[in-house]
Amino acid sequence: MHRPDMSVAVAGIKMRNPVMTASGTFGYGAEFADYLDLESIGAMISKGLSLKPKAGNPTPRIVETPGGMLNAIGLQNVGIDAFIEHKLPYLKNVNTPVIVNLYGNTLEEYGEVAARLDGLSGVAGIEVNISCPNVKQGGIVFGTDPGAAQEVVRLVKKNTSKPMIVKLSPNVTDVVLMAKACADAGADALSLINTLTGMAIDLERRRPVLANVTGGLSGPAIKPVALRMVWQVAKAVKLPLIGIGGIMNGRDALEFMLAGATAVQVGTASFLDPSAAQRIAREMEQYLVDHKIGSVSSLIGALEL
């Protein structure tokens, strides 16, 4: 039998397989080069970048919870200019699409960061973070109000000719409402979900474990919530979706595709297995071989009710 066709395309970004690495879990790519073949994955998404470098939150920043972890890193990053100067040249030599995740403290900053990336070779697309739960102005304001989200999306769209993915927060009453708002404002694709706001308490010290008090929950614990949200949005919005949330293996990834995702992002799994993204792509392919399925794209939205 021929090898199955694993390729997919999201908003014009062609990928050899549907596995992308989620922002904030894969550094700037180079950190993982010793553990996997960067040219075996579908796409890489950078750490969330802002106009100015950002130091992030005080520690403790992470804590393990059952089947998951909470993080409140606070969007620590080198800033867009340092990224372009020091990180991008390395990534340009890797034959895998690079998508830059960006956020702003203000509406204007979103536009400014997008503008600096526009026209840069080596950047296949941008992912707009309107959903970080851990910094006051890290996007969550924009990610929970449909009107504010539309303003961001419109402004970024005006400042870029690159494919634009908008990353949605699950910390909303109605994720479909947010998805529709972003679609109407000009998003080319949606990725979901970002982390769920959570909390851990140290009983003995009677204090929150995280210095930030609350953090974003990720890992296998959130997969059912993420699947449900992808499925709901897929029914309501025509845009390509990227499923994120607790994907640990090829089967998890394929479940997201059945729910309606065109591609997936692997996040927390890369922390415990730095070769996770490559392994998951391989496991997906093996599933297709075992089930005599010719192309992975035939599974997109193929859930039977």
Binding site: E31, Y35, T59, G67, M69
Partner: protein, 269 residues
């Protein structure tokens, strides 16, 4: 490197303290004292994350099963403190774990001829044994100052002595060695021309760093922190650099910039 490793032995040294030997690829022999490994104790999702452990020892042994000569190994020294280490201490010869190693920046052994002073608290002794072996192999004079709450916290002293290391012990309750903090014992022996290597609880390291600064003795500390990845991606394990302020933040990654730092690189509160 990421590799599967077989547990060779997993021995309780004193209540809740274990020493575990695991097989390793030959390449691990090129690791440096002070580097660490990340261990995934179970394939299940709880506990989800790997656990970091300093390399206690690295070497080769003749494996009884292999019939193929020598086999490289690595060892860790750990205390059972939570979910991960509880599972770990139940592992037996033949069990398999997944390791990332060697990780991080190890100790700078410094020029020959200086007196080398190791300061360890509790499981903080772990990276110091590998270091002591390397120093002794270079023909250096090595002294160890080991501290703990009580005698059960003082581990592997005989192993250090067997290397020819002169040892000094202090416990909070006086059940072994002097009564009091190990830093008090250290202070009496500090003088110029020494180089300090310390690992243990952060307050102890802070005290050692301060002492080293006031005596103008070079000092390296090996830090411990919660971390998710061990490769510099999660940014969960950062510490404040010496010049960190709210306005000009300076965070260092324990996993990538450390775990060993020159004591003046960090901020001690």
């Amino acid at each position: 490197m990421q590799f599967k490793s077989m547990v060779v032995s997993n021995v309780e040294l004193s209540p809740n303290y274990f020493r575990m030997r695991m097989t390793a690829p030959q390449e691990l022999l090129a690791s440096a004292p002070g580097q660490f490994l990340m261990l995934k104790v179970t394939d299940a999702i709880d506990p989800l994350l790997r656990r970091p452990f300093g390399l206690f020892d690295v070497g080769t042994f003749t494996a009884e099963y292999a019939g193929c000569g020598t086999q490289a190994y690595c060892e860790i020294l750990y205390k059972v403190v939570g979910k991960g280490t509880k599972l770990l201490c139940a592992l037996h010869h033949g069990d398999v774990v997944d390791l990332l190693a060697p990780l991080g920046r190890g100790f700078d052994l410094g020029p020959a001829g200086e007196e080398k002073v190791l300061v360890g608290g509790g499981v903080g002794l772990a990276p110091l044994y590998y270091l002591a072996k390397a120093l002794v192999a270079r023909g250096e004079k090595v002294r160890l100052f080991a501290g703990g709450r009580n005698r059960d916290d003082i581990l592997c002293i005989t192993e250090f002595e067997r290397l020819g290391v002169e040892t000094y012990v202090a416990t909070d309750d006086g059940t072994l060695g002097e009564s009091g903090f190990v830093t008090q014992v250290l202070e009496r022996h500090l003088n110029e021309g020494m180089r300090i290597f310390a690992c243990g609880p952060t307050p102890m390291l802070g005290a050692v760093a301060k002492m080293a600064a006031s005596h103008e003795v070079p000092c390296q500390v090996s830090m411990e922190a919660y971390m998710a990845c061990g490769v510099g991606a999660c940014l969960g394990c950062v510490m404040k650099g010496a010049n960190h302020t709210e306005a000009t933040p300076d965070y260092r990654c324990v996993c990538k910039d450390g775990p060993v730092f020159d004591s003046f690189e960090l901020q001690w509160s």
